[in-house]
């Protein structure tokens, strides 16, 4: 039993990390149908910028805030200088642009920051909380809570505000949205900025667990993307459920089957789910009109 609990705790820890990263994909996808592969780099910028700003002598909370602002600025710049000039291009071309942007950001981070790994102090210390013979770090709970808060905020924003509706309308039909007076450029630009901020917050919260370095974004984005697909891309709650499921799958297969094949097991399950439900667990089935 203690064993089972420990695996579950591990799964929740890792899953919360994936969920936070997966959440970042949601908004941009909702606004523009683009899967932003530079999302992992926002996570990296959030963590690394906090480390370096704090190292310059600025108190940690302020450093974290500045890092989020910096990542948001990078998100806006990504939209303004890479995505917007290519307006009218297909979603696939835009996705390729985000891949290019992610390579660029990684390279820039190597030069601006460094190539080492860094860590941040956990919010509530590193004394594990004991429960039923298993141990979990307080920071894991912080990450989980962070993911839930972001989900609630995102959901309220999209479902309950006019601007959120505008984002949805832009995603559904750009031309129609423009005809009813929505500034679609502003909504898409806004979605990039907020996604970058979500990514940066994720980066700051997970760094005490995962550690961070200039190249951490690629792998995190891959897992986060898989989690988002599993949960149903575009759904905030789906991103969290997908992330937690992926984390639990990995932890249980590492614990009960073999640590060699844990990634393989997780991805096979995802494939099976997507065969049965291509839109993901909570995704809306969409009909493409031709």
């Amino acid at each position: 039993m203690a064993e089972f609990l420990q695996f579950a705790f591990s799964g929740l820890t890792v899953g919360a990390v994936y969920a936070l990263v997966a959440l970042g994909f949601t908004l941009i996808y909702n606004a523009s149908d683009v899967i932003n592969f530079a999302q992992g780099e926002f996570v990296m910028i959030g963590g690394l910028a906090t480390v370096f700003i704090a190292a310059a002598g600025i108190p940690l909370p302020l450093a974290a805030l500045l890092a989020v602002v910096a990542a948001t600025a990078v998100g806006l710049a990504l939209y303004r200088f890479a995505i917007e000039p290519a307006r009218g291009a297909s979603a696939v071309s835009l996705i390729m642009i985000t891949i290019g942007a992610s390579i660029f950001l990684r390279g820039a981070a190597q030069v601006i920051f460094d190539k080492r790994y860094h860590s941040l102090p956990p919010l509530f210390g590193d004394t594990p909380i004991k429960f039923g013979g298993a141990a979990i770090l307080p920071q894991s709970l912080v990450v989980l809570a962070g993911a839930l808060v972001i989900v609630v905020l995102l959901w309220t924003f999209i479902e309950r505000t006019l601007f959120g509706k505008a984002v949805l309308a832009t995603a559904a039909n750009k031309l129609a949205a423009r005809l009813v007076g929505i500034d679609t450029r502003r909504t898409v630009g806004f979605s990039f900025a907020v996604s970058a901020a979500i990514g940066a917050i994720a980066g700051i919260l997970i760094t005490p667990i995962t550690l961070t370095s200039y190249n951490i974004g690629t792998l995190l984005a891959l897992k986060g993307f898989a989690a988002a697909m599993l949960g149903g891309i575009g759904s905030a709650l789906g991103a969290v459920i997908g992330g937690l499921l992926l984390g639990l799958l990995e932890a249980f297969s590492a614990g009960y089957l073999s640590s060699q094949y844990k990634d393989a097991v997780a991805f096979i399950v995802i494939l099976v789910v997507l065969f049965a439900r291509p839109q993901g667990l909570l995704g809306r089935a969409t009909v493409e009109r031709v």
């Binding site: 695996f7 790994y117 590193d126 594990p128 995962t210 370095s213 590492a254």
Partner: protein, 391 residues
């Protein structure tokens, strides 16, 4: 017609003057070319960068002191970016275009293995800076290397385990190249030290939680110690998770994490961890009687003074390679006869470098023994040397 030819004569004369001015100094000094292909950029740049800086620094110093047997050295460094294909191209260029007297380099094992056939065929002495065992096993006539091997780290750890009478261990290894290779070496030589490996686990390079694997290790009956082979952030997370689960057995790490960074990342969890490391990392902790002390403190001072960066073992490997080469050249009477130079490298005896005491032989082209590694224990966030006798 006349003015035209007069003009061309002038031009030829001018060109001749220019050539004489540019070409003359190099002809007069008869520089010896030392070639090198390093991964100065790319994923292995944290190895290649200090190597390049070290070579440049010490070639300058040798030249300032009048060179080797009156001949100045010229260092030619190419950047292969960690790409084995590029390294092979540069190897050919070093041999055919630059006509170098000897080569130092190959930051990664992959790049080194790609270059070996070129230098073997052209019969150019080659000292590699990469860690892999296949570079020197089987022995290749023209190929040497300065870094320790994974096998030596395993031997050092097992010797320490034996001293503490711990014989049943578990291994948790990263699936990256370093973790895998060291895992294989350790498994291979464990029986020689009477060590049984009772349980094995792995983790991926980007994993952020290893508690499931460690829970399984914790639940394996009779485990007396745990060894983690890996590199980068993985071992730091393993160490944290190890303390999170409050596993009481001693934890051993590899020389791959022997840096201040590991202690920073793992924090308090690192206390009590043991790992083998090169003397260079604990230069100021060595007793004054230690043979390596003057060399390692000298190199540390020079490197940190010049580059303002922390010293690393990788730059130390480059220092050792250059010194072994130039010492051999002095004995061989210069760089002219490559076969003689090679023989003298192989005859290196009692050379004290940053990596340890080097005694090469026709069957051993590394020349380091177990004393090259020091067993360290982390106490209160700093290294402490574990005394060689007793435990």
């Amino acid at each position: 017609m006349t003015s035209c030819s007069l003009f061309s004569v002038k031009r030829v004369a001018a060109a001749a003057v220019v050539i004489a001015m540019v070409g003359a100094p190099s002809v007069a000094l008869a520089q010896i070319k030392i070639g090198s292909s390093l991964s100065v950029t790319g994923p292995a740049s944290f190895l290649g960068d200090p190597e390049k800086k070290t070579l440049e620094m010490y070639v300058d110093e040798i030249n300032k002191k009048g060179g080797i047997n009156g001949q100045k050295l010229e260092l030619i460094v190419y950047d292969d970016g960690g790409d084995a294909n590029a390294a092979r191209t540069f190897a050919t260029r070093l041999v055919e275009d630059d006509k170098v007297a000897a080569v130092i380099g190959g930051t990664t094992t992959g790049a080194t293995m790609a270059m070996i056939p070129v230098f073997e065929e052209a019969q150019v002495p080659f000292i590699s800076l990469a860690g892999g065992i296949p570079i020197v096993e089987p022995v290749k006539k023209w190929v040497f290397k300065t870094p320790h091997t994974d096998k030596m780290a395993c031997e050092k750890i097992f010797a320490d385990l034996k001293k503490r009478k711990l014989t049943k261990i578990a291994i948790i290894s990263g699936t990256g190249a370093f973790g895998k290779s060291m895992h294989n070496q350790c498994v291979k030589i464990a029986p020689k030290y009477g060590i049984t490996i009772a349980h094995e686990e792995t983790y991926g390079p980007g994993d952020s939680d290893m508690t499931p694997q460690l829970t399984n290790i914790k639940n394996t009956p009779g485990i007396q110690a745990v060894l983690n082979t890996g590199f980068g952030q993985g071992p730091a997370i393993v160490t944290r998770n190890y303390r999170q689960l409050a596993i009481p057995q001693p934890l051993y790490q590899s020389h791959g994490v022997a840096s201040k960074q590991y202690i920073q990342l793992a924090g308090d969890a690192a206390n009590g961890v043991r790992l083998p490391a090169a003397a260079l990392l604990v230069a100021n902790k060595l007793p004054n009687s230690d043979k390596q002390k003057p060399v390692v403190t000298g190199y540390t001072k020079a490197y940190e003074g010049k580059t303002k960066q922390d010293v690393s073992t990788f730059g130390g490997h480059a220092y050792d390679a250059l010194m072994i080469l130039t010492e051999a050249a002095k004995r061989a009477g210069g760089f002219k006869d490559k076969a003689k130079l090679r023989d003298q490298i192989e005859k290196t005896k009692g050379f004290i470098g940053t990596g340890g005491v080097v005694n090469m032989s026709p069957t051993n082209h590394v020349g380091l023994d177990q004393s090259a590694f020091r067993m360290l224990e982390i106490k209160n966030g700093d290294w402490v040397l574990v005394p060689e006798s007793g435990s």
